[in-house]
Symmetry: C2
Subunit: 90 residues, 2 copies
């Protein structure tokens, strides 16, 4: 599955996602992608920083992509939301 190395960041506490990242690394992935949209983008950065500073010191950010997704809303028509993808390698 293409996305099996991806952690999508939502509104749960940062440590939940840090744990998800560590689980992916432990299951054999050499590189994972932390993805988020809109307000969750700040939390995605928090997740990677906590992962590096507290749990996996040798984890390395290899690439960061930003972009825009177009979302169809029911009431206000299409709207744009920013995205981020942080690629982390061990």
């Amino acid at each position: 599955m293409e996305r099996s190395n991806t952690v999508f960041i939502g509104r749960k506490p940062v440590l939940n996602y840090v744990l998800a990242c560590m689980t992916l690394f432990k299951s054999g992935h050499g590189e994972i992608v932390v993805k988020a949209r809109g307000r969750s983008i700040s939390r995605a950065v928090d997740v990677v920083e906590v992962l590096r500073n507290r749990f996996i010191p040798n984890a390395e950010v290899v690439k960061i992509e930003i972009g825009t997704d177009r979302i169809e809303t029911d009431d206000r028509g299409p709207t744009n939301v920013s995205t981020i993808g942080i690629h982390v390698k061990v």
Copy 2:
């Protein structure tokens, strides 16, 4: 001055910072840096995306750095906050 090509993102509307970026480009800077901390990180991504999609189509993101700043608070002792720096070139 080292930081004269930097736009620091705070809590103002996105377009205020987009305008600040365009002013820097117009004043002759070939590359600017959009910086933010904590919750403002999402807005920094918004600023760069709006700049590219609506105002300067040939603007290019050349580098994105993330990191952690240690902040001394009066009441709760030191705390960590995530940072981002988005380098944009025309």
